[in-house]
């Protein structure tokens, strides 16, 4: 059964449809802003290219963050909206996990995103793609020691992490999450999908709201 995958969490708008781990159609566009405008027309274009009706989809996969707060919400809102109509389950995967899945199989990987303010969002995975740490928001120098002596660094924060992990290899080709990668792996990970209500967003940072007495949240 076909799976629709979406990502809008970072500087791209990415949509793919896969069946049995094979990509039927994919569109990946670098995009700083305007995801709310681009996403649904892109979904329609990919769906037509794959010659799939919405009613045929049996799973929707989406990145849940971390990423830009707005981008995280756009992908989730679209996935949850699409899921409502067909009563289809939604599989939410972390943006860092999807980045890590784009690295060569069998080698440890650390996925990192430039989170601004001197921090990265980062998470380590083993060679099988299983997370070995939580997703963290930290300055690169405050990250826990790497789980193995060497491996691959992926994502826009890879270059920021490299100075503190000099023996790790920077995979420049993997910068933005790719809905194609998400769509290919979603079938295998479908047991993690939520049948009722979509997955929750993963912001990793609180809102910047301040209470009237000056305390944070």
């Amino acid at each position: 059964m076909p799976i629709l995958a979406l990502d809008t969490t970072m500087q791209a708008c990415s949509v793919a449809i896969a069946r049995d781990g094979e990509i039927l159609a994919r569109c990946h566009r670098p995009l700083e802003r305007g995801h709310a405008e681009e996403l649904l027309p892109m979904v329609e274009a990919v769906r037509r290219q794959a010659a799939i009706e919405f009613a045929e989809l049996d799973l929707i996969a989406v990145t849940i963050g971390p990423g830009t707060f707005t981008g995280v919400r756009i992908g989730l809102a679209a996935a949850r909206g699409l899921a409502l109509v067909g009563a289809v389950p939604v599989l939410g995967l972390g943006t860092l996990e999807v980045l890590a899945l784009a690295a060569p199989v069998g080698e440890p990987v650390i996925a990192a995103i430039d989170a601004r303010r001197g921090e990265v969002y980062a998470q380590a995975f083993d060679g099988a793609g299983e997370a070995v740490t939580e997703a963290l928001a930290r300055p690169p120098s405050d990250l826990p020691p790497p789980p193995s002596p060497a491996g691959n660094l992926v994502g826009t924060g890879g270059a920021l992490v490299r100075p503190v992990m000099p023996d790790w290899r920077l995979l420049d080709a993997v910068q933005q999450p790719d809905a194609g990668v998400l769509a290919r792996h979603a079938d295998r990970l479908r047991h993690r999908a939520s049948a009722h209500g979509g997955p929750a967003p993963l912001y990793l940072r609180p809102t910047d709201a301040r209470l009237p007495d000056g305390r944070g949240n």
């Binding site: 709310a36 919400r73 409502l84």
Partner: protein
Amino acid sequence: MIVLGIETSCDETAAAVVDGERRILANLVLSQLAEHRPYGGVVPEIAARSHVEHIDGVIGRAMARAELTYAQLDGVAATAGPGLIGGVMVGLVTGKAIAAAAGKPLIAVNHLEGHALTARLTDDLAFPYLLLLASGGHCQLLIVEGLGQYRRLGTTIDDAAGEAFDKTAKMLDLGYPGGPAVEAAAAAGDPDAVRLPRPMRGRDGCDFSFSGLKTAVLHVLAADPPPRPEDVAASFQAAVGDVMVDRAGNAIEIARRRHPGLRHLVVAGGVAANTHLRDRLGGLAKERNCVLVAPPPALCTDNGAMIAWAGIERLRAGLPDPLDAPARARWPLDPDAKPVPFAGKKA
């Protein structure tokens, strides 16, 4: 014709189903009040986070309440602005996704048009009519001449009316949101006890200004001993009422120069839920041979039914929107109206 309406432009997560016979089949509003109360106002990022967590559940419950499937809809309407952009995007993208998946037209609704057309949903009112739109984000007088045809006669040059209520409530320590709190306190107060200005009263035109009134409240409270909060609330509310009657009175005269037969004054927006203001405007209407149309309070504050209804009107006029319809923080009803420098998005 049956349309689903989605509203997420401020701090209400709302969905409703309305049909072409003006029947509201479901109308659900999930308030975020408790989440924002500690901050004394709406925090945009908190609002956006709450909308994305709840909007699909609210829509699902509205559809269940209406006992309809998505295939039975004729369209999906969602607020596309103006409002807090993070929240607007959540509702609009959700609406786009439902429209795409169900193969139904999308209607990207101007939230203000939703308020403006509510009187046609509740009272089947014909165009043209005069509208006083007063909420936390806006305070304007418009002639509603037709669908998508609005002529702004006046607007606030600084604060919105609801904002003045919120700030006054804060100064009086009455809690949040300020509208209902000030109204409740005012019920036990003397509206003549405290002297407050009536900004703009007696001037030509229909513009509003509330920031001076807010400052006057601050000065009054500095007295020793300070006046009773109830008296300040009642006096403040009376001042807002006097200003609104004066401004709306001018608007009726101006509107009648264009439309001599104009007979309806409509109030909409959250501030229109205030009973004292409704009574004052009702008095004005009577005096000017007008009929006041005031939708029930639940349809004056933000809701999905008004968005669904605006969607029905636009769909009937053959005005659906494409799936790349933009979310807009600012979207004036009357694009020809002059910008007001200090009112920003509120104008």
